[in-house]
């Protein structure tokens, strides 16, 4: 992608031609595989997510989410293993504690908390992955470009 292509990305006003940029932090052991499954099963979902594979949602620092939002993402989606299924036993529980804190900060300062979503998507839930991405993309499209990137 050149500078020129990047320019204006996610910058258009809300409306039909607004294509949001969504940063996804997906757990290697579940959601990343679910994304593969959705693809190999030829399920359709919007191409707006820029996936970043992480070894565990427990490794997603709160500042990653904030930085994505401040640096141009219109939404951030974190996908991890269902409770009890964490490959590292407790990573997802810890992530839930930590990332809830981010949501509360965004809520407290009215910084569009809906732009951040946290979902449990197991490796077998390709259909859920496609649905979550579709729903989230539609929600973000409705909300329009994020004002947080101007901060």
């Amino acid at each position: 992608m050149t500078d020129k292509d990047r320019k204006g990305e996610g910058k258009a006003a809300a409306g039909d031609d607004f294509e949001p940029v969504i940063v996804g932090f997906f757990c290697n052991w579940c959601t990343a595989s679910a994304a593969d499954l959705a693809g190999t099963s030829r399920m359709q979902y919007p191409p707006n997510v820029r996936p970043i594979r992480v070894m565990c949602t427990g490794s997603v620092d709160t500042s990653f989410v904030l930085r994505a939002l401040l640096e141009g993402a219109d939404g951030v989606l974190v996908g991890g293993c269902h409770p009890g299924d964490c490959h590292y036993v407790t990573g997802n529980y810890r992530a839930r504690r930590r990332l809830t804190g981010v949501i509360k900060i965004l809520e407290a300062l009215a910084l569009d908390p809906e732009r951040f979503r946290f979902e449990w998507i197991s490796a077998s839930e390709g259909a859920k992955f496609a649905k979550v991405v579709t729903d989230f993309t539609e929600d973000i499209k409705r909300m329009g470009p994020s004002p947080l990137k101007e901060l």
């Binding site: 500078d3 990047r6 320019k7 990305e9 910058k11 620092d61 709160t62 500042s63 989410v65 904030l66 930085r67 401040l70 640096e71 141009g72 409770p83 009890g84 407790t90 529980y93 810890r94 839930r96 504690r97 930590r98 809830t100 804190g101 981010v102 509360k104 900060i105 809520e107 407290a108 300062l109 009215a110 910084l111 946290f118 979902e119 449990w120 004002p147 947080l148 990137k149 101007e150 901060l151």
Partner: protein, 363 residues
């Protein structure tokens, strides 16, 4: 079982000098080997903690000094983290300093059990700058505050720590009209030679605490209302921090920001020139120094669950941004989610260090 005793404030004495005489006695008698206590600097322009071993060096000390240039918990961390000193060291701390020390204890940055915490009743402090200005203008800071309570720092006027929540020895001045100092401790060696507290003294302190709590709660509500109106949304947040010079001093002076190297000072935030040019092109402009919002919101995300609301960040800001107001507001909304109140108790586990299987969302 805690025992209550009393130090009478004699003629020509103040609660400060009376309490100091008792502390000096503890040092002289060897019940304490050292004492970390606020000490007058520059002829009383400000007070800083000093680690005293010579009783005669206590002349300029004041356990109730109405100014807090550095949160004492930072110094307790310096004193005890690497290796706690041998011997019994008394540390005179106000409740917000104790709150910070409690958090740092849980973060393994302070060994609370290795010092004798001498908690003091605190009616609030004046910012260092105001304190210095008052003294330089020939005024007595304490009487200035009595005349104009608005001189107190906002963090003090909205303080959550009216009641000393943890101590090995308490020096209580609330409800005494300056006539005595209540001393409470479970350790008899710290009470040597003091008279039993008369009836009513403790009750008077208790009712004064409740009154002060009430006033502080009301002030907190008023401040929160202002935040509700002004510090909301991207514009509100940008406006609050618009004069920030990104010096990171709020982080440096934050007692619970203990990381040896702050993530926000790491190489992560050093970029090649072309990268900055790319951002500048995308946005049309790029604020320099970069990452102002990232620093404040990111730092908030890192430590707001342990923020004890001492307001050192506000005092440390060279351009007068009320950093603490924003942090305290957010902290009071984040911490309850974990059923947590930073600084309340050494027994409450750190919210990030624990979890429940059945809590929060998503489930």
């Amino acid at each position: 079982m805690a025992t209550e005793r009393i130090i009478k404030v004699g003629r020509g004495e103040t609660p400060s000098t009376a309490a100091l005489a008792h502390l000096k006695q503890l040092l002289t008698s060897g019940h304490l080997d050292g004492l970390m206590i606020p000490m007058a600097m520059g002829g009383g322009r400000t007070f800083m903690h000093v680690l005293v071993t010579d009783p005669d060096a206590l002349a300029d000390a004041d356990p109730f000094a109405p100014v807090m240039p550095v949160n004492g918990a930072t110094s307790v961390s310096r004193l005890t983290k690497l290796e706690a000193p041998s011997g019994r060291i008394g540390v005179v701390l106000r409740p917000c300093e104790i709150a910070a020390a409690i958090e740092l204890h849980k973060l393994l940055q302070v060994r609370l059990g290795d010092v004798v915490v001498i908690g003091v009743d605190c009616p609030g402090t004046i910012s260092v700058k105001d304190h210095i200005d008052l003294v330089d203008a020939g005024k007595d800071p304490l009487s200035a505050v009595a005349e104009e309570p608005g001189l107190l720092r906002e963090a003090c006027m909205t303080c959550d720590w009216t009641r000393v929540q943890y101590h090995d020895m308490l020096l209580g001045t609330f409800g005494s009209d300056g006539k005595h100092v209540i001393v409470v401790s479970e350790d008899e060696t710290l009470l040597g030679g003091l008279d039993k507290a008369p009836k009513g003294a403790l009750e008077a302190r208790e009712s004064t605490i409740e009154k002060i709590e009430d006033i502080r709660e009301k002030t907190t509500e008023a401040v929160e209302k202002e935040v509700d109106e002004h510090l909301q949304g991207p514009e509100g947040v940008a406006k609050h921090w618009e004069t920030c010079i990104v010096c990171h001093n709020c982080m440096e002076q934050c007692p619970v920001c203990y990381c040896n190297e702050c993530f926000f000072e790491s190489q992560t935030f050093r970029y090649e020139g072309d990268k900055m040019m790319l951002w500048a092109r995308n946005r049309g402009s790029l604020d320099m120094p970069t990452d102002k919002a990232m620093f404040h919101l990111g730092r908030m995300a890192h430590m707001v669950a342990t923020c004890i609301g001492c307001g050192m960040c506000t005092q440390a800001c060279p351009v007068g941004i009320n950093v603490g107001r924003a942090f305290k507001y957010v902290a009071s909304r984040v911490q309850p989610v974990y059923d947590y109140k930073a600084g309340r108790s050494v027994d409450d586990p750190l919210p990030q260090a624990t979890y429940l299987e059945d809590e929060l969302e998503p489930r």
